[in-house]
């Protein structure tokens, strides 16, 4: 379905999803929205330019940024960094969100945290509460979060539940200051409040694809980058994402039963677009009927229905729990239950539809029966006199040339005059699987099969989760033993530092290089710190001509590498690691030991190592080369 229409323009209760997101942002008094359009960007841009958001009267400024190259959130954030769009804190919101949350409180919390501590709190994740049997839950969105119940700091973030077990790192329980709270009753809303450093971090770590990568990356590197993630739990307001057919169904129902108030069908949206002109009238039992539609004799519209503008419904129809779009023609004696019928659909006499989705411009001839969980994609034609089995999906490829369209349709499936192919998964799963995949039980399949070119609309992504998951697996297979990795890593770092120093490459690039090899070899922060220090000392050792000019030589190297060293010295333990490495090296090389004080002084003056750490190191001699201890200490004093 998303092949021809981007997901953010799917009609949810007869309004494009994106308009809910923008209304939500406008209601939170957001002043400027950048909309990143990727998949079928043209359509999103067209929609925006026609909507009220681009008019002068719009409550907030909306700027669409179009590029088909962005395939993940990571790409978008890197672009944000390149253009340096934000100088202060900003919000990241996926384009498929339906919410009436007021962001004032979480924003205020975030601001206070940032004021207290300049750089440490990086972002706030918004979570909505949901009981374990909640209908908004889908398997892929399941998260387990360990957080500090007082500071609301996220300590561990686990997504998905392929295994029955969740592993927590011991370290989070060891800190006596943490009051750890493990929660399973949350859904990640996809709304983040970000500090301006966030895009930079995405640039530094170019392998981050998704929000999950980012959160995990930050949490793992917490001690050395010193960044923290907090969360805010949305308590009594509504917030949900539409990222598969199951949630589409649930959120539609919620909109109809007014959980999203004030964003309900009879809200005055003020669209100038002629298609949705006029208003819906709310009748009893949550039935919304547009002023401009016609229902013939004896047609019954029961609970929770929406009937769109210019729709005509014939005699003796029964409609329950369904949303019917604009400009539809439904003939006599139809029975429609739990269906989502989009715009300009034609349905012939005596059709029976159950729990199905029918996209724009579908044509159904007489006596068609859809059993539960069917989906008909755009411009499909069905009938007459046929029955679609439970969980069938019919599609029509739009881009192929004429010949392939004329290729024989399976008459048995789609009827004598039908046009469309039955979707089959590659490995011929049984129907149950496909149906579940569609309707949200196990959504992995859905993404794999249906959405090869899933929409990547603004600031959101769904399937790149999958891509990156695959990559992770590949990496796991390649994993060698750690020792081997360490030596390779050390060699690589040394080489890049040496090369960098000789060719005077910008230090930022070196940082990037080291970071990438850090991930490639799965190194811990400690390893990185030690390796960097050792490598720079070794380089100095290599380049010296005589004993005397060792220190000047080392000094020039260290001076050059200062930004790099500063990059990794965020916590005191990393600083301590610098010193221990230095000490270890000094114990093996006499010249180093001789100039130890000078080195220490230099490090101190350039803010690589702070005074407390030096004193701490001095008073706690648990180093690696015991016999040489006395010497540096004495010299230092």
């Amino acid at each position: 379905m998303s092949a021809t229409q981007p997901r953010c323009l799917f009609p949810l209760a007869n309004r494009p999803l994106l308009s809910y997101t923008l209304e939500f942002l406008a209601s939170c008094e957001v002043k400027h929205v950048y909309v990143y359009c990727c998949h079928l960007a043209g359509q999103v841009k067209d929609y925006l330019s026609k909507s009220k958001w681009m008019k002068e009267s719009s409550p907030c400024k909306v700027t669409p940024i179009v590029s088909a190259d962005f395939t993940s959130l990571g790409d978008v954030m890197r672009d944000v960094d390149q253009k340096s769009l934000f100088e202060s804190d900003f919000l990241v919101v996926p384009g498929d969100i339906v919410s009436n949350v007021q962001l004032k409180i979480p924003l205020e919390e975030h601001r206070i945290r940032r004021e207290k501590d300049k750089n440490v709190p990086l972002m706030t994740l918004l979570m909505s509460k949901s009981s374990p049997k909640h209908r908004l839950r889908s398997q892929e969105d399941t998260v387990v979060i360990a957080s500090d119940s007082i500071t609301k700091r996220v300590l561990h973030y686990h997504k998905g539940c392929e295994q029955k077990k969740v592993m927590f790192p011991m370290s989070i329980f060891e800190n006596p200051l943490h009051k750890v709270e493990i929660r399973y009753d949350l859904i990640d809303s996809g709304i983040w409040i970000c500090a301006p450093q966030v895009p930079t971090l995405f640039t530094d770590n170019f392998d981050y694809q998704t929000q999950l990568d980012f959160v995990k990356g930050i949490l793992i590197n917490e001690e050395f980058l010193g960044n923290q993630i907090h969360m805010h739990v949305i308590d009594s307001q509504y917030c949900a994402r539409v990222n598969n057919l199951h949630t589409f169904d649930v959120v539609s129902k919620n909109v109809v039963s007014r959980w999203t108030y004030p964003f309900v069908p009879d809200f005055c949206y003020d669209d100038l677009d002629s298609k949705s002109e006029g208003r819906y009238t709310l009748l009893r039992h949550n039935v919304y009927i547009h002023q401009d539609c016609s229902l013939e004799h004896d047609t019954v519209v029961r609970d929770n229905c929406i009937i769109g503008p210019k729709t005509r419904i014939g005699n003796r129809c029964q409609i329950t729990n369904s949303v019917i779009g604009a400009g539809c023609k439904i003939a006599d004696d139809c029975c429609i239950d739990n269906c989502y019928i989009w715009d300009n659909v034609e349905i012939g006499n005596c059709c029976t539809l159950n729990k199905s989705v029918i996209c724009n411009n579908v044509h159904m001839l007489e006596k068609v029966t859809l059993e539960a969980h069917c989906a008909l994609c755009e411009k499909v034609k069905i009938g007459p006199n046929c029955t679609l089995q439970r969980g069938t999906t019919i599609y029509l490829q739009m881009n192929n040339d004429e010949e392939s369209i004329k290729k024989s349709f399976d008459v048995g499936e789609v009827g004598n005059e039908g046009q469309g192919y039955v979707w089959k998964t590659e490995d011929n799963d049984d129907i149950n699987d496909l149906e579940q995949a569609f309707w949200g039980m196990s959504l992995q399949d859905y993404h794999n099969t249906v959405s090869e070119s899933q929409i990547e609309e603004e600031e959101s992504d769904a399937d790149s989760d999958l891509l990156s998951d695959d990559e992770d697996d590949a990496e796991n297979l390649e994993l060698l033993t750690i020792d081997d990795d360490l030596t390779i890593f050390q060699r690589e770092v040394k080489e890049s530092l040496l090369g960098g120093f000789e060719e005077k490459i910008d230090c930022d690039n070196l940082i990037l290089e080291i970071n990438s090899s850090k991930y490639a070899y799965n190194m811990s922060v400690k390893d990185v710190v030690q390796t960097v220090m050792r490598a720079s000392l070794e380089i100095a050792d290599l380049r010296k001509t005589s004993d005397k000019d060792f220190f000047p030589c080392l000094k020039s190297i260290l001076l050059y590498l200062t930004p790099l060293l500063c990059k990794y010295n965020k916590s005191s333990s990393s600083q301590l690691d610098y010193l221990y490495t230095l000490e270890e090296f000094a114990s093996q090389h006499e010249q180093t030991a001789n100039v130890m004080v000078k080195i220490l002084m230099f490090l101190y003056e350039n803010d690589v190592v702070c005074e407390e750490v030096i004193l701490h190191w001095n008073s706690n001699p648990k180093g690696l080369a015991g016999d040489l201890f006395a010497q540096p200490i004495r010299k230092k004093v």
């Binding site: 009981s131 209908r135 919620n254 007014r258 108030y261 929770n304």
Partner: protein
């Protein structure tokens, strides 16, 4: 204008007095800031703006009232400048309507002083509005006697001022019905208790049981319909019915700007424009309400009740007490018949 419409849509106002005040201030701005040659043009401008404001928040009748009121002021002032008596504009009675053979005013003559005079009249009206709550409260001692038991529902600023005014001279007991699910009654009870008024909070379901002890029911209202019926806070109908059963008088407090031209029957079951169905969140948390078991349950959270006029004993406004059956008469004085349809 856009900002004002946006605020209306987002319900950024604090009660109907605040809304009325903001609306008329906005209209005043329109009168001063737009260009118009004569009264007719001005009225067209006001009418146009009024239509947009009303459609932004159709369940708030006060907006329409303010627009009609301003139109009426313009008509009156125009005629006054022309040197005719106000009577000719008002078409006072049926007799006059039939017998008068005067030409219809066309309001097309450009008048220099119209703007200043209209502004003066509007300002005067705003002053009147500002004073309305005090005018109503001033009548309190006539209605509340010593040692009476008064019952009220939810929270109304007018009722609060009324009771506090009475408490300066009299000692009486107030029973506050809490008004689930928003529980505004709790706030009122707190505020009354802080003024040393003897206050009891009861649940909505206890109203009938308490009614036998009550001497008077005093409630506020969101708006008063043309037939004298009320659009009042959810639960008011039940209270009024219980009062009727026990023959307790029901007194409704509301300033004149709450009086509107709508008849309940004209709404024809159109829930959206009469009532306001807000999120079921207040009734049941989405944490529970979104579960599979409850997916087929419909949960409603209406904000208002319609109270039919026969259940209301007395309507007290800033100009004094009236019976609900007299409302139509007050309406014809407040608004011009040509403005009924904006």
């Amino acid at each position: 204008m856009e900002q004002f419409l946006l605020d209306l849509k987002r319900e950024k106002y604090n009660g109907s007095y605040d809304l009325a005040y903001k609306t008329i201030n906005h209209l005043r701005k329109i009168i001063t800031q737009t260009r118009w040659a004569n009264a007719n043009e001005l009225m067209a401008i006001i009418r146009e703006a009024g239509k947009r404001m009303v459609s932004a928040q159709p369940s708030e009748y006060v907006i329409g009232n303010m627009v009609r009121r301003v139109l009426k002021i313009i008509r009156e002032e125009y005629v006054r400048i022309q040197g005719e008596s106000e009577e000719s504009v008002n078409k006072g009675s049926l007799h006059k309507m039939v017998t008068s053979d005067q030409d219809f005013q066309d309001f097309n003559t450009p008048l220099k002083e119209l703007k200043t005079i209209v502004m003066e009249a509007v300002n005067e009206y705003i002053d009147e509005m500002e004073a309305s709550i005090h005018n109503i409260a001033a009548q309190a001692v006539e209605h509340i006697h010593s040692d009476e038991v008064i019952l009220t529902v939810g929270k109304s600023r007018t009722v609060e001022a009324f009771l506090k005014q009475a408490a300066k001279k009299r000692k009486f007991h107030v029973i506050v019905v809490e008004g689930a699910p928003l529980y505004h009654g709790h706030e009122l009870a707190k505020s009354l208790a802080s003024k040393k008024i003897e206050t009891t909070v009861v649940t909505d379901s206890a109203v009938f049981a308490m009614m036998s002890r009550v001497n008077k029911v005093i409630i506020g209202t969101h708006s008063v319909l043309a037939n004298g019926g009320l659009k009042a806070v959810n639960g008011a109908h039940m209270v009024a019915l219980a009062a009727r059963q026990h023959a307790v008088p029901v007194i409704v407090l509301g300033a004149m700007f709450k009086l509107c031209l709508l008849h309940h029957s004209a709404l024809g079951g159109n829930e959206a424009s009469f009532n306001r169905l807000s999120s079921p969140q207040e009734v049941m948390d989405h944490y529970e309400g979104g579960t599979e078991i409850l997916s087929d349950v419909q949960i409603y959270c209406p904000t208002f009740d319609y109270v039919p006029p026969e259940l209301v004993t007395l309507f007290i406004s800033n100009i004094g007490g009236n019976a609900p059956s007299y409302m139509y008469r007050l309406l014809s004085e407040l608004y011009h018949p040509d403005d009924h349809e904006l």
